[in-house]
Symmetry: C2
Subunit: 398 residues, 2 copies
């Protein structure tokens, strides 16, 4: 059906479904001097060996410029795909590089799998709350997002079973289950291995495809890694990214999918971007093979751990007693529940006026839930700013 | 409607519409030693000042790494957008940087505008023949491609008028007219200013949106530039790219569109890739502001001119008398018409066996036309290889 969004353009119906991301919306505001931004999930890049990475880049362009500045294959640079299988092995995944497709960031992986498996009005099951960027893509591609209940330990297997039953009862098709089991965006919660097993089993039984998004799995404060769902079932589509462990600006992500599906995803990928930036892919390859990248992730993770602790301390010190928050053991975020009859969207402007930016929780639902919730990112702010941010936020709430 | 492409996956209908690109299909074969590839439209990157570009890259990462390796804005780097308005001014376009959206290559621009303006079964009008990658995207997004007749001078205005009438008579909606007016891929033909005016006038009268794809406009053998359609009408959506004048591997393209449409395109763009590679954007900005990039394009264009001449000489010397070809005055391609009852797809394997790769003409039509045609790219082969390639191709034809 045609929309009437403009008297001038005869937009396709889907045109009206793309919505502005609240995270992108406060991008500029977050840059203001004196502002404490707990909004964007930006990694700390000051841990990177910039001097050496710059040298590597210069070498690549000088010595192999006619290759790294030229068109690349749709699948991605072969050596990078090999190196990425090693990255995934840290999460218990055994994979073949040929099953891997390099994308221009893993947001693109979300877009491609939705394109491939979801007709308009098909259902995407998604834990509640979930990544705002994924919701934007699902809605833009006219999928119907159905949230599956979560608790303090993440996605609830029994609730998933019930949601599948309820969707099937409506006669609708389920495109897939979208989940971030490790240090979820926005809650920071990590799902137990036992629940992962149950969820994989339910989806296998019900014929529901799992799409596992895993940007944060190895950013674990105590170094422990819970095996990825993909390690439990080869049919799981796994999305990975260099954005949180290296650089988001290079736009290098990847998808691991069973061969036939992967090959189709590549055709859709080529129809969108032809290939990911070849220079970016080589800079990712350099990072994974010529640098002690695990030490870099460890250093960054140590900072995130200290920052999470500082934020939680600040919250404990300043927050009213009815406010609750998750206590993250990895990743970039904590999730506040105010337990009040209030819409946090209406608090954002006051927060900005008081020098604190956050993302209102409704952004992480497709259906208006989450009015009394807030996502706080601790990944980039200093410990001092995080404590001060908690104080400012408490002031806004009172 | 569901497809039955696999017993395993419940693919969306559109999944079956993405087709392998014949250009990508011969990517590997083209690399074989001894093979003369006239297949891919790859620019000659040996004209680039690789040493200095490498230094620029090192400087960017070393001095501004936490910026150029971090997330960027969805619109693109502001200074780059400014610089791109200067690039477009060479084609007669006066533009505001705020109307410009940076994309991960202009293939993505094609995907975004189709997403925004075409429902499934809506019509895309496209000159015949046209860019294979665009056809792939249109079909993948389930548009109905209707080819508009062209002659030796390009798209025929009267044929466009007739096509619009015919589509309207079926009750179908027209998403837009897609055209490459300057040194078309695959024909190399440049449309006259007079025809551009007529086409813009027809589309204005009929309410048909124009999407002008312009990768080659300033790669003109005699230096002359015919003003872009966008210079004649601000409502034209203009697609530009750094791929042919600088580097395809960086994946930097752009779209110029009226503000409201542009803003919606940005939302869809963010849902796909968040932003184009920030490092790539800065390397594009460096090229456009710190280097004599026009001299670089001039040097490359001189080579393309000499190569086009060598190929045409070879064709004149070796081809049977019933074969015709376009005589390009810019861009990367010439287009052969065999005037025989033959499908050139069946000749490709024989060509490969004889050490010559080309793209069969059917790739450049959505509907099976072009069986007796061939696209030859002269952009990357040496003059000697181009002459020898013409000889080998003539051998295959005889």
């Amino acid at each position: 059906m045609r929309t009437s969004v403009s008297p001038r353009y005869n937009y396709a119906a889907r045109a009206q479904h793309f919505r502005p991301s609240p995270v992108r919306g406060v991008f500029d505001i977050s840059m203001k001097p004196g502002m404490i931004s707990l909004a964007g999930g930006n990694p700390d890049l000051t841990v990177l060996p910039l001097e050496q990475l710059g040298d590597a880049s210069a070498r690549l362009i000088r010595d192999r410029g006619t290759e790294v500045l030229q068109y690349g294959t749709g699948a991605g640079v072969d050596e990078l795909r090999e190196a990425l299988t090693d990255v995934m092995s840290l999460s218990g995944i055994r994979s073949d590089a040929d099953d891997l497709l390099v994308t221009s960031g893993s947001q693109m992986g979300i877009e491609l799998i939705t394109t491939m498996l979801c007709e308009p009005d098909d259902v995407v099951l998604a834990e509640s709350p979930t990544f705002v960027g994924a919701i934007g893509t699902f809605l833009g591609l006219e999928a119907d997002v159905v949230h599956v209940d979560s608790d303090d330990e993440g996605l609830i297997p029994a609730a998933l079973q019930e949601s599948i039953r309820a969707v099937h009862a409506t006669g609708k098709k389920i495109g897939f289950l979208y989940t971030i089991p490790s240090f979820s965006n926005p809650t920071g919660i990590r799902l137990s291995l036992e629940r992962r097993r149950q969820i994989v089993e339910i989806c296998r039984k019900e014929g529901v495809q799992i799409v596992e998004d895993d940007p944060y799995g190895i950013i674990s404060f105590d170094g422990s890694v819970v095996p990825a769902m993909r390690s439990l079932d080869d049919s799981v589509v796994y999305l990975g990214t260099m954005s949180k462990i290296y650089s988001p600006g290079l736009r290098v992500g990847w998808m691991l999918a069973p061969r036939e599906l992967r090959d189709r995803l590549q055709l859709a990928s080529e129809a969108t971007t032809i290939c990911a930036s070849v220079l970016s892919q080589h800079l990712a390859l350099e990072f994974l093979t010529e640098f002690d990248w695990r030490a870099s992730v460890e250093t960054a993770t140590g900072r995130y751990r200290a920052r999470a602790a500082a934020l939680v301390e600040g919250l404990e010190e300043h927050m009213p007693s009815d406010v609750r928050w998750t206590n993250p053991t990895g990743g970039f975020f904590t999730w506040l529940t105010l337990n009040r009859d209030i819409n946090t969207e209406s608090l954002l402007q006051r927060g900005i006026d008081d020098g604190i930016v956050f993302i209102p929780g409704t952004a992480f639902y497709a259906d208006g839930q989450g009015t009394d919730t807030i996502r706080l990112a601790y990944s980039l702010a200093s410990e001092q700013d995080l404590r001060e941010g908690a104080r400012r936020l408490a002031g806004v709430l009172s």
